[in-house]
Symmetry: C2
Subunit: 437 residues, 2 copies
């Protein structure tokens, strides 16, 4: 059905995997309704994939399939990049922009690494770059940051932005599992990949943290600015000890715009069980935003998956198509602030530290003395914890000692922990978790 007399807006799709195939489905099945929203016809003009013979979806016309990705990237009004990774995705995205196409992408790694180059190329060419699906999957978070909150000042964001680690921590919490067991279980159920490194070491969340900070603070924060800790050292004991204090362990992306500058970090932390993020379970994602005028906001939804991610991608495609139909563009990615990066040493937090010890008289006094010597104030001590098989260096004679501090700066805390670990009755690797208010 041709609604309009002008040529239809052509969408070129790079990638026909889980998200690509669902994006194609929504574009094809809802073509008429979307065209009506846009004010001009829209059509899927080409789908690039590695092996067209392997792709078989009833809604994708076989004649649209090609392995010539560059041809699709440079022959469309809107290019949807769903290849992922840095190269060749970067080359295709820049070629698409250079050809005059607007770009919609879900590629967080690409934007966290090459964002400024891509945003600048789009601004120079006068085309749109939209990427709602790059953070939080289906959750509208990029658009609110780019548009709804522009009259406000975002001061911090806390995000659960990786569903795999959230699922694993949830399983550890509800079933008392240790990390390794929960990971294998998540792999068996398809919630974790065969090589889970990018998720469990926090790299995926770090890409999203970089994008969140860039959008929220209007300054460039790249993946190399993000400090990252994963969840591989968390044990069932850490979680049980947190639960006893009415707290839960979550892997958080934390971005802040404070007096010392901008920071972007990923780490596992204890949050109060009444915090809105505490009830974000399984593979769901959520981003908690603090802004000066709006105060607390939270955005919650599916952080991954074919159809949810495609929903966000197609929302972007329609917005960009409306801009093309009207001859305008959306807001450029604002990076007019050149804010300093806060040094990690300057950050203050409360910490929960767990040591493995050979218990004997005087142990607690000696450890407490190391904390006192450096002015680190102790909020609570717990020596009842049973060591588990998954503690490095475990043997039956060891005990665990857990110390929760008051607010302290990170450098001093790390010095203290290092000194404690040098005491002769302390062994193995300590576990260090931040405790958020």
């Amino acid at each position: 059905m041709a609604l309009h007399h002008e040529a239809p807006i052509r969408v070129g799709l790079l990638g026909a995997g889980t998200v690509g195939s669902q994006t194609a489905r929504l574009l094809v099945e809802q073509k008429d309704e979307l065209s009506q929203r846009i004010g001009r016809d829209i059509e899927l003009g080409g789908v690039a994939c590695l092996d067209p013979d392997e792709v078989d979806f009833p809604w994708i016309d076989r004649s649209l399939l090609t392995s010539d990705t560059m041809a699709v990237a440079t022959n469309a009004d809107i290019v949807v990049e769903l290849i992922g990774g840095l190269e060749p995705a970067r080359t295709f995205v820049l070629a698409a922009i250079e050809s005059g196409a607007s770009v919609v992408t879900a590629n967080k790694a690409l934007l966290a690494k090459h964002g400024p180059e891509i945003y600048q190329a789009a601004a120079d060419k006068g085309v749109d770059i939209y990427f709602e699906a790059a953070v939080g999957g289906a959750i509208p978070i990029v658009r609110p940051l780019r548009e709804s909150l522009v009259g406000d000042k975002v001061t911090s964001m806390l995000g659960i932005v990786n569903g795999t680690t959230n699922y694993i921590l949830d399983e550890m919490t509800t079933k008392g599992l240790d990390f390794d067991v929960a990971l294998r279980d998540a792999q068996a159920r398809g919630y974790a990949e065969a090589d889970p490194t990018g998720d469990i070491e926090g790299h995926d969340a770090a890409n999203k943290a970089a994008i969140m900070a860039t959008l929220g603070f209007h300054t460039n924060v790249g993946i190399d600015d993000v400090t990252v800790e994963g969840i591989t050292r968390i044990t069932a004991d850490d979680i049980a000890a947190a639960a006893a204090e009415h707290k839960v362990v979550k892997l958080l992306a934390v971005v802040e715009n404070g007096e010392a500058g901008v920071s972007a970090r990923v780490y596992p932390a204890l949050i109060d069980e009444n915090h809105p993020l505490a009830s974000v379970h399984g593979s769901f994602n959520a981003v908690f935003v603090k802004a000066e005028a709006a105060d607390d906001l939270m955005f919650y939804g599916r952080g991954a998956g074919g159809a949810p991610t495609a929903s966000a991608v197609v929302g972007d495609v329609v917005t960009v198509a409306r801009h093309i139909a009207q001859g305008c563009t959306g807001p450029v990615i604002p990076m007019y602030n050149d804010l300093p990066k806060a040094p990690i040493e300057a950050s203050k937090a409360a910490f929960a530290v767990r040591f493995l010890i050979h218990d004997k008289p005087g142990v607690l006094a000696a450890i407490a003395a190391e904390f006192a010597k450096r002015g680190v104030s102790i909020n609570g001590v717990n020596q009842d914890l049973k060591p588990t098989l998954h503690d490095p260096g475990y043997s039956g004679e060891l005990q665990q000692l857990r110390i929760v501090t008051h607010l302290t700066d990170e450098a001093t805390l790390r010095d203290t922990v290092k000194a404690v670990c040098e005491l002769d009755f302390v062994t193995g690797e300590p576990s260090i978790l931040r405790v958020l208010d």
Copy 2:
């Protein structure tokens, strides 16, 4: 600082109360940054209020104040309507549009009643009408529905969209208070107005339900299409009985696009304590959205207050100003679907019904027989509840009987309750609450 050579975009503000004064503050204090985002200078060109002598904010230049609202409404590029209510707000909004101005408003009552007239006037004139602050205060929900989810199909929304009633129900829950006590307490603390009718009877939430349904389902749903029940009949016993079943009572705006048509309703209901909406406390608002591709989404934040609402208003002003600077407009409010309204009789739900009875042998059998006769299946019965002073018709001899049903259609349930109430040992008004999955 003049960033650009063109004339600045003039904003006319109608209303200088809590939200208006904060909107003026953000526009004045962040003028340079906003102008940079817009690509053209923006300035506050006039502020209309009832008595200019009474308005005294350091950031509002006194020369901008006037009581001539029509002059401000028809001499601006963007008119921000914060007067509230139906008239004269409607007249000023239509005059602004007629004069060629785009309009930003937080007026839910106006849109729920006169939305189609206003949306059509804006579309005819080629200007924008934006209203993020009309639903959920600071929470970006209108923009996601208008833009992010356009490639998806929203099937239902559940919202806690009235902070006053949420605060009252929370106080009843945490402190075991009855409704009247909690209301007086909320009034004393400024969370409820002296005349709380609009909040506690559900009318405020109903306006928002109408807007949510219109945006979500692309069909016109007006305030007269919304069925409304308030919270005035909820007792501490209802809440205690819910808590015993791990449920909480919330006043919900519920809009659905089902087989029988579109429905928009406001009612107090029991939801599971693990539902994301259950942990929305105090004056916070949240909207839970179900869409076919995106699946579950939730948006959470401050539903009212000067600064939070102003944050949403200014976000809209910047978007509209960018459109003016670029010579384009945002998406029109889509009402191309002409969906039937589902008759209330067709809706199915589980119900928790509480009767006041004179207890004697055979009472339960007689009541159960009325349910059985009409095919209403009973899920649970509880006769332990103590009547409270706030039950109508209370006397020391009465007992309460609470019955929870399985899914049943509403007409049959109401027939059954009516029949039970005609039994001679049943007295007073029954309490009927829906139970959501």
